[in-house]
Symmetry: C2
Subunit: 233 residues, 2 copies
């Protein structure tokens, strides 16, 4: 409880009391050499074929050239370390950009598109995410620390949209959020064959979920027996 | 190639040439005792704690009280057997119902909602699907035999909607299909905490994806400086 989270990361070893998992301070730069060596060692071990489940604190410490205590000073246990490593393999978490509701949704959609591309192209990230999904404890930590904040960010924008009268108010926030993010998550998580490289994708999806996929209704006037040749251009 | 697929399943052992995997004839009732015993044995073994990967043809045959040849007569290999068993644990696959585009989308959405409920309540199905996801070969067979036909059914309805002028024609079929199914798949596959028990969910989702989540635009006339008290009802 003594941690000053506003202080810049020290190049020397920071003193994190074990009761306060340092791994929780996501988003902060942690440039310290020992930490980088630990994370790099895990990536290297995975690239050599080790699964997340095969890794031990002993093995990681040896590969990183640090003592076990150096690891435990930063992460309370192996699971917290691995979740943190997987999170670091990803792009920095999305943030609100201070735009309109549509712009915020667009930014999140684009974040997910880029994350999907990264997952496909980076073997270590893809493998780590796959293995994490098969490890219930890790999966729920990752869910809580990485996925849940993203979900909450979408909910926040949706709530704002409803408050501003931009998003319909007759559906609950979760449902609206799922309509927004469902399609891009399908494409990034389920369908490995679905293309993600079109930079227009995020905008197409935001417009499709905002405006719907139904064909636009014909303009009211010509629909009935309006006199022909009415509207100019 | 000699199989008459229109013939009703015989109560006696059918003679399936090994070259023609019988497991492919999905959707047909296969009431045969030996087959049922094999499938029931796998379910029982899983309930006793065996993972899909632990199961062997020998072990399954012994548990079912049949010879290995009885299994190989029906399934070309263990993977095909396991995929078939997982598929049988699910509800019968969705079919077109002969309704309007909206009704077809509704039926598929409702199928997915019920499938999600079944997956949550049936331990064996949930476990089998989880394990299948961790086994690339099984996963791709399941993808091809179960998921892909569902995807194609959605595409088919979407294409029909575009042809009928009910669905917008400026987005490609895959994207439109993902907008339709993304939200319900999120809720059934990703968010185990998201409620599925509301029977109105499918209709809410179909309407949300067809009409969009943007607040409806105010009717044209009163938006500008129209004379007040204009429209009657």
């Amino acid at each position: 409880m003594q941690i000053d989270t506003t202080a810049p990361a020290s190049p020397a070893e920071s003193h994190c009391p074990a009761a306060e998992p340092c791994a929780r301070r996501r988003g902060r730069p942690r440039s310290e050499a020992a930490e980088q060596a630990i994370v790099a060692a895990i990536e290297r071990l995975m690239e050599e074929g080790a699964g997340l489940a095969d890794l031990s604190i002993e093995g990681i410490a040896a590969a990183a050239g640090v003592g076990k205590a150096t690891i435990y000073r930063r992460w309370p246990n192996k699971e917290a370390l691995l979740v943190d490593v997987v999170a670091r393999l990803e792009a920095p978490e999305p943030q609100l950009i201070g735009g309109t509701v549509r712009e915020e949704l667009l930014a999140m959609m684009e974040f997910m598109r880029r994350r999907g591309l990264a997952k496909r192209s980076r073997w270590v990230l893809k493998t780590a995410l796959g293995q994490l999904n098969n490890w219930p404890e890790l999966r729920s930590m990752y869910q809580e620390q990485v996925i849940e904040p993203r979900r909450e960010l979408v909910r926040q924008v949706v709530r704002r949209g409803v408050a501003e009268g931009v998003i319909r108010s007759d559906l609950d926030t979760d449902l609206l959020s799922e309509v927004v993010m469902g399609p891009i998550l399908l494409r990034t998580v389920f369908w490995e064959d679905a293309p993600l490289d079109d930079p227009a994708l995020a905008e197409q999806l935001v417009d499709a979920v905002l405006n719907g996929i139904a064909a636009p209704a014909p303009t009211a006037a010509p629909a009935a027996a309006a006199p022909s040749g009415g509207e100019s251009h």
